[in-house]
C-alpha cells in the first residue's frame, strides 16, 4: 500500500490541453473517487496514473517514488477496465494468473495466488470457465480478481460498473466497498455517476473541463459545495438554482426571479443588491405559510418520497418531500427553503458566497 501524490499534472493531446494543472493528494489506504461529466479528464488522469498515457508536465508519485518515467508494470498498480479487458482465450484462472506467469512465478505460486483471490471474490467454481461463459457481474469480479492477485500498491478502477444493469451495479458497489474495507489497498476509482461517488468514496475529487473543482468527503461536497458546478453535480435530484440579487430588508433576504422573496440566514458582507444565484436542494424545501407561492406542475411519487415539480417565480424548481402531501397539478403551495441550508453563488464566477 502506498499514498499517491498528483502534483500540478497537465496533459495535452497534440496542441490541445485536456488537463490544466491537476493536484490531488491521496492518503495511504484511501478510497478516492474521481467524478465528473464525460470529457472532464478523469479517465485520462487515471490512465496517466497507470502509465498508459504519458505526463505532459507535473509529477505523479506512488509511495515515495516519482513514476513519471516508470514503466506501467514497474508501478505496482492494478487496473480494472470499463469493459473488463479479460483475455477471451484464457480461462478465469489463467486470466487471473497471467501477471504472475509473466513475472516468472512457478505453477504452485500461481495457483496459490489465484485461489486466494478466487476465494475472496467467490470465484472458485468459475475458475475453469472462459469469459464468454460468464455473466456481466461475474466478469466484473474476474477483472477485480485479476487485480487482487497482483497484490498491488494501488487499485485503479475505470468506470467498472457502467456496463452492468442497475440492480447489479448497486450490488457490485457494495461489494467493491467491502473489498476495500478488507484489503485496505489505496484505491482510485473513476466514475461519472455521482451516486457511486457519494456511496463509495472516502474522498471525492470533482473534475470539470480538465480542472479539479473541489476535493472533499462526500458530505462536505453535499453540505458545502465550493461552487455552482459542484453544487449542481452532487445530489439527486439536482440542486435548484434561482437567479436574482441579495436584498436584505431588515433581515437577510434574496429577491429571486419576478420578485420572489427567498430567505437567507445571513447575507454575506457588502453584498446588498449584488446579483447572485440562490441554490436550494429539493429536499430542503418545506411547506410553510411564509413560503413563496408556487404552482405545482407535475407530482412524481416514488413511495419513500414524492418529487414535486413546481413553478416558483416563473422558474421550474423541484422539491422532494418525505411526508405524503396531497398535491395535484395546478395547486398553489407555499414553498419555503430552509434558510440555514441554502447556498449562494456568484453569478459570474459561480464561487460560493455564503459561509
Amino acid at each position: 500500500m502506498a499514498s499517491v501524490q498528483i502534483r500540478d499534472v497537465r496533459k495535452s493531446f497534440g496542441g490541445f490541453e485536456v488537463l490544466h494543472g491537476v493536484s490531488v493528494p491521496i492518503e495511504d489506504g484511501a478510497f478516492v473517487v474521481l467524478v465528473g461529466p464525460s470529457g472532464c479528464g478523469k479517465s485520462t488522469l487515471l490512465r496517466m496514473l497507470a502509465g498508459l498515457e504519458n505526463i505532459t508536465s507535473g509529477t505523479i508519485s506512488i509511495g515515495d517514488r516519482v513514476v513519471n518515467n516508470v514503466q506501467p508494470k514497474e508501478r505496482d498498480i492494478a487496473m480494472v477496465f470499463q469493459n473488463y479487458a479479460l483475455y477471451p482465450h484464457m480461462t478465469v484462472a489463467d486470466n487471473m494468473g497471467f501477471s504472475l506467469k509473466l513475472r516468472g512465478a512457478n505453477a504452485d505460486e500461481i495457483s496459490t495466488g489465484v485461489k486466494r483471490a478466487a476465494e475472496i471474490l467467490a470465484l472458485t467454481p468459475l475458475l475453469d470457465r472462459y469469459p464468454r461463459q460468464l455473466s456481466g457481474g461475474q466478469r466484473q469480479r474476474v477483472a477485480m480478481g485479476r487485480a487482487i492477485v497482483r497484490d498491488p500498491q494501488v487499485f485503479l478502477f475505470d468506470e467498472p460498473l457502467s456496463n452492468l444493469d442497475a440492480k447489479l451495479r448497486v450490488a457490485m458497489r457494495t461489494e467493491i466497498k467491502e473489498l476495500h474495507q478488507r484489503l485496505k489497498t489505496t484505491t482510485v476509482y473513476v466514475t461519472h455517476d455521482q451516486i457511486e461517488a457519494m456511496t463509495m468514496a472516502d474522498k471525492i475529487v470533482v473534475m470539470h473541463d480538465g480542472i479539479v473543482e473541489q476535493i472533499g468527503t462526500p458530505l462536505e461536497l453535499y453540505d458545502k459545495p465550493d461552487n455552482q458546478f459542484v453544487a449542481g453535480f452532487i445530489g439527486s435530484p439536482a440542486m435548484n438554482f434561482l437567479k436574482g440579487q441579495v436584498k436584505s430588508n431588515g433581515s437577510a433576504g434574496f429577491e429571486g426571479p419576478n420578485g420572489v422573496k427567498l430567505p437567507l440566514k445571513s447575507a454575506p458582507a457588502n453584498s446588498e443588491g449584488r446579483p447572485a444565484v440562490y441554490g436550494v436542494r429539493p429536499e430542503h424545501f418545506t411547506i410553510a405559510d411564509d413560503g413563496a407561492e408556487a404552482e405545482i406542475v407535475v407530482v412524481e411519487p416514488t413511495g419513500s418520497e414524492t418529487q414535486v415539480f413546481a413553478k416558483l417565480g416563473g422558474e421550474q424548481v423541484v422539491a422532494v418531500f418525505r411526508e405524503r402531501h396531497q398535491f395535484n397539478p395546478g395547486d398553489k403551495v407555499r414553498l419555503k427553503p430552509d434558510p440555514s441550508l441554502v447556498h449562494l453563488f456568484d453569478e459570474t464566477t459561480g464561487k460560493r458566497l455564503n459561509a
Binding site: 492494478a78 487496473m79 479487458a85 461463459q133 456481466g136
Partner: protein, 319 residues
C-alpha cells in the same frame, strides 16, 4: 343497439383440400427449394458438372477430336510410372509449402506493422494491395522480364556493382527457376494474407493490450499470449485459401516458365494443361488434375479442424 340493422354475414369461404399444385406453390419447404434452385443450378453447371466430367474423362482414353472410351484406371497406372508426373507432384508440394510459409510470415509481419499507428497509414494499406490488384498474367510478364536471361535488371544491377561478371540465368537454371517462380508467387500472395490478418488484428480490443501492459507483458509476450491465440481462427481461414490457391496455381508458371527448364517448375496444374490441351491427351491430363483432389481434400480437412470453434469462442456473447 337495437335500431342498428344487422349486416347479413358473409358466407363462409369453402374449405377445400390443398391440391398438389397449391402445395408446390405455398408450402414453406417447397418454397425454400424454389428459392435455392437458381444458386443450385449455377453450382451444378459450373462446378459439379465440370468436376464430374473431368473425373469421368480421366477414366477414358479421350483425345482432342475423339470422345474416348472407358479404360478404367489405365491413365492412373500410366501416371504411377511416369517420373515427370512425380516430379510435378514434388514441385507442387515444394512450391506450395515454401510459398505459403513465407507468405504467412511476411503477411503476418506486414499486418502487425500496418496495425501500428503511423503516418500515411491509409495510403500504405492501399499500397500493400497493389500486387493483388495487378492481373496475374501482367505481373508474371513483368517478372519474366525482370528474370530474363539477357535483359534482367537484376543481373544488370549486379554487374554494374561489380558483384558478378556474367548474367544469371534465372529462368534457365533449375534451382534459380524454382526460386524465381516461388518469389513471384509470394509477391502476389502476400497482400491477401496481410490484409486479411490485418482485419483480424483490428478485432482485438485495444484494452486487452493495455491490460497486458499493466500485467507486465513485453511486446513479444503480448504477441505470443494475446495476439497470436486470438488470431488463430483467421489464420486458419487465410492459410487454407492461400494453400488452395498456391497448390492450384497455373497462370504465373505458364506465363513465366511453361514448366521449364526440364520440367523443374512444372506444377500439377501446368502439366495437366500441357498434356491435355497442348498434347491433346485429354484422358491423361484429366487424370493429373484428378490426382490433385486428394491433396486438396487433405488441405480442406486440416482447415476444417482448424476452423472448429475453439472452446473459448463458445458460449453466449453478451458484451
Amino acid at each position: 343497439m337495437a335500431d342498428i340493422a344487422l349486416q347479413p354475414r358473409p358466407a363462409k369461404p369453402q374449405i377445400r383440400e390443398a391440391t398438389a399444385w397449391d402445395q408446390l406453390r405455398t408450402n414453406r419447404n417447397w418454397l425454400g427449394f424454389w428459392f435455392m434452385l437458381p444458386a443450385m443450378a449455377f453450382l451444378i453447371f459450373f462446378l459439379a458438372y465440370p468436376l464430374g466430367l473431368g473425373i469421368w474423362i480421366s477414366f477414358t482414353d479421350a483425345k482432342i477430336g475423339r470422345s474416348g472410351e472407358f479404360v478404367g484406371v489405365e491413365n492412373y497406372e500410366w501416371l504411377w510410372g511416369d517420373t515427370i508426373f512425380w516430379l510435378s507432384v514434388f514441385n507442387t508440394l515444394l512450391y506450395t509449402f515454401i510459398a505459403s510459409a513465407i507468405k504467412f510470415a511476411i503477411g503476418l509481419y506486414l499486418a502487425l506493422l500496418l496495425n501500428e499507428n503511423m503516418p500515411f497509414k491509409a495510403m500504405l494499406r492501399a499500397l500493400v494491395l497493389i500486387p493483388f490488384i495487378v492481373p496475374t498474367v501482367l505481373s508474371a510478364l513483368a517478372f519474366w522480364w525482370i528474370f530474363d536471361s539477357q535483359f534482367s535488371i537484376i543481373s544488370w544491377s549486379l554487374k554494374q556493382l561489380g558483384l558478378i561478371t556474367e548474367n544469371i540465368n534465372f529462368l534457365g537454371d533449375v534451382t534459380w527457376a524454382r526460386i524465381c517462380v516461388i518469389f513471384a508467387n509470394i509477391w502476389r500472395g502476400v497482400p491477401f494474407v496481410a490484409i486479411t490478418l490485418l482485419a483480424g488484428l483490428q478485432t482485438v480490443q485495444p484494452s486487452l493490450y493495455e491490460a497486458a501492459t499493466l500485467d507486465g507483458a513485453s511486446k513479444w509476450e503480448m504477441f505470443r499470449f494475446i495476439t497470436y491465440p486470438l488470431l488463430t481462427p483467421i489464420i486458419a481461414v487465410v492459410m487454407t485459401f492461400s494453400v488452395l490457391f498456391t497448390f492450384t496455381d497455373f497462370q504465373l508458371i505458364w506465363a513465366m516458365t511453361r514448366g521449364g527448364p526440364v520440367n523443374a517448375t512444372h506444377l500439377m496444374a501446368t502439366l495437366s494443361y500441357q498434356r491435355a490441351i497442348i498434347a491433346g491427351q485429354l484422358g491423361e491430363g484429366a487424370a493429373i488434375s484428378s490426382a490433385m483432389i486428394p491433396f486438396l481434400l487433405a488441405a480442406i480437412m486440416v482447415s476444417w479442424f482448424g476452423l472448429q470453434r475453439r472452446k473459448w469462442q463458445q458460449g453466449e456473447n453478451n458484451d
